[in-house]
């Protein structure tokens, strides 16, 4: 082993350089945005002549943008709460009960991960139309719940599978009902996963464009607003300023959510973020 390790160590320079190069590739676009948000110009081109915080001050003068931000927050909160609740029920049903058609249900619930969003959007739009439900922020939220539930479920199932089922049995054995067992044992143990599910589903909903595009009524969410402004570069710098703020906020949220996942995860298993 010493031999292998040493050799790998000796040859490690190439891959280390690649790794940092890759990080640069990942972060380049994320650095361009803040950079131009501080540039005192409306065209996105180097060299930047003068830096200012003008666009940040400008944010306050865009009621439409702030309205869209507010709408996105509302939709995000509703979608993350509902998706996490549904995810919790689904995770409990899947990890704790042997029910017929479990795999079919699991497959259907996970489907939004595997079918293009444009189809989900169209399908939902058709059924809303058939049912004569007017489009609004709530229809966007409903679409987001469908999209987010599989994410919530993945996070929660991982956690519920991760802890010893005899803990719940012990509680039942000590005389507690099913509901009290959930409240006194299960919930405290999966609380970190619930919080990280809330955060992740919120971010997914907050950032979602295409479903919202199909399901929007009169009110816009932030991605819809940004989409609209893309055609007008001169209007765009304040969007970049707001985007930079949101970027910062979501970085903090993600780090916090990941940290929670690590804290909440069973100690003996490796665990990683999305898709793992």
């Amino acid at each position: 082993m010493a031999r292998t390790l040493k050799k790998v160590g000796e040859r490690g320079w190439g891959i280390t350089i690649f790794a940092f190069g890759y990080l640069a590739f990942l972060y380049a676009p994320m650095l361009v945005l803040p950079l131009f948000s501080f540039a005192d110009q409306t065209i996105f081109r180097f060299p930047i002549e003068k830096f200012s915080t003008r666009w940040y001050e400008e944010i306050a003068n865009r009621p439409e943008m702030l309205g869209a931000l507010w709408n996105s927050l509302i939709v995000g909160v509703i979608a993350s709460l509902a998706a996490t609740l549904l995810g919790l029920l689904a995770a409990k049903a899947i990890t704790r009960y042997a029910m017929p058609g479990k795999n079919v249900a699991l497959g259907l619930i996970s489907m939004p991960l595997f079918i293009p969003e444009v189809l989900l959007g169209l399908a939902l739009l058709i059924i809303l139309n058939v049912a004569h439900i007017p489009l609004s922020l709530m229809t966007i939220a409903a679409g987001h719940v469908m999209l987010c539930t599989p994410f919530a479920m993945a996070v929660l199932i991982a956690r519920m599978d991760g802890f010893d089922k005899s803990l719940e049995e012990a509680s039942l054995d000590l005389g507690e009902s099913g509901w009290m067992t959930f409240w006194r044992v299960t919930f405290p143990l999966i609380a970190p996963a619930v919080v990280s599910s809330l955060l992740l589903t919120f971010i997914v909903s907050f950032d979602e464009f295409l479903l919202a595009f199909f399901l929007q009524g009169n009110e816009m969410t932030l991605p819809l607003y940004i989409w609209g402004q893309l055609r007008f570069p001169s209007n765009f710098p304040p969007v970049l300023a707001l985007g930079t703020c949101i970027l910062l906020a979501s970085c903090i949220l993600v780090v916090f959510a990941e940290w929670l996942r690590q804290v909440g995860a069973p100690k003996d298993r490796p665990s990683v973020g999305v898709g793992g």
């Binding site: 292998t4 690649f18 890759y22 990942l26 259907l108 058709i126 950032d207 295409l210 990941e258 898709g275």
Partner: protein, 325 residues
């Protein structure tokens, strides 16, 4: 929840067999929309397949070394690396795509820098509004979906196997190809699945950086929807869903197989990729010569047969090349 998902899809299915007649919808059942969509849109299906294939290839090829680096070279800051690699995924997709526009534009960051340093005189035109831009942007956007599964499978590789390999006389390169790589294939195939399926249905990137002819499946569905022909849009959507779902199904089967027989699964994956491109090549050759009025289903059938035959013979050829019976 399950009903909430199944009902819209069922209604869409019904819609796809109706027909738009001016402002009204004719509810007599017909397969017209399917025939129309197939004949008119199959180049877009193939184009989407081609672009998504390139995206997947680029993403996985770039992701593997990074996952390998974190799994085997990073000793004490794995967690930090994993977070660093995931963060971009969680930030606004639209803004990231827009950032690539700034970077790749004709007067953008790259062209500006290159011209400023005198390396080129004229701006490079193919950077933005091109397939290159789509592939680059998507490879950036879906990086985390490729890195994480590969990382997980690499992390699971029992380190004593590598010691055994070294003990039996393998150098680092040989033991990588003989031990680490085969054992990481389930991760690679799940990365392929997780990148391919969402990118083939992506709307934003092809529209924003792909230029006027950059549209893929989502654009096609959206266009028929915008043309106020909902039944056609529904049929197109269902065709796309069948298309994407069968690819996803294939990939998931491969994933299952790769856990038992990694190399065998790899051979089949390569064979499928080769055959898809073979079939689309044949299609472009014969397209000009197909007589007017040939039913779409005939074209689909011919393609399917070509595809199956292609897979069969490529598998045989690859197996022979690898010395497996």
């Amino acid at each position: 929840m399950v009903a909430g998902l199944a009902a819209p899809l069922a209604i869409m299915l019904l819609y796809s067999f109706w027909r738009q007649d001016g402002p009204n919808v004719d509810t007599t059942l017909t397969t017209f929309n399917y025939e129309y969509a197939l004949t008119k849109y199959y180049p877009i299906f193939l184009r989407s397949l081609w672009i998504s294939g390139l995206v997947t290839l680029a993403t996985v090829l770039l992701a593997y070394p990074i996952a390998y680096y974190v799994a085997f070279h990073v000793k004490s800051y794995k967690f930090v690396w994993l977070i660093l690699l995931t963060i971009p995924f969680w930030t606004s997709y639209l803004l990231r795509v827009f950032a690539w526009r700034i970077i790749l534009a004709r007067d953008g960051v790259i062209n500006g820098t290159l011209q400023g340093t005198g390396l080129i005189d004229e701006p490079i035109n193919w950077l933005l509004f091109s397939d290159f831009a789509i592939v680059l942007t998507l490879a950036h956007a879906w990086a985390a979906f490729a890195i994480l599964p590969i990382y997980v499978s690499l992390e699971k590789v029992d380190r004593t196997l590598l010691e055994a390999g070294a003990d039996l006389g393998d150098g680092p390169v040989r033991s990588f190809w003989r031990i680490t790589f085969p054992l990481s294939l389930p991760g690679v195939i799940s990365a392929i699945t997780l990148v391919f399926v969402p990118t083939i249905g992506d709307y934003v990137t092809p529209d924003l950086v792909g230029g006027p002819r950059g549209g893929m499946i989502a654009k096609m569905v959206y266009n028929s929807f915008k043309g106020n022909d909902w039944p056609l849009a529904a049929a197109t959507a269902i065709l796309s869903m069948i298309f994407v779902a069968s690819i996803a199904f294939l990939l998931i089967q491969l994933l299952r197989k790769s856990i038992v027989d990694p190399l065998g699964a790899f051979v089949i994956a390569v064979a499928i990729a080769v055959s898809v491109y073979f079939a689309s090549f044949v299609l472009t050759l014969v397209r000009a010569n197909v007589p007017e009025g040939t039913p779409a289903i005939a074209i689909v059938l011919v393609l399917a047969i070509l595809f199956v035959v292609g897979v069969y013979y490529t598998v045989i050829a690859l197996r022979a090349a690898l010395g497996r019976s």
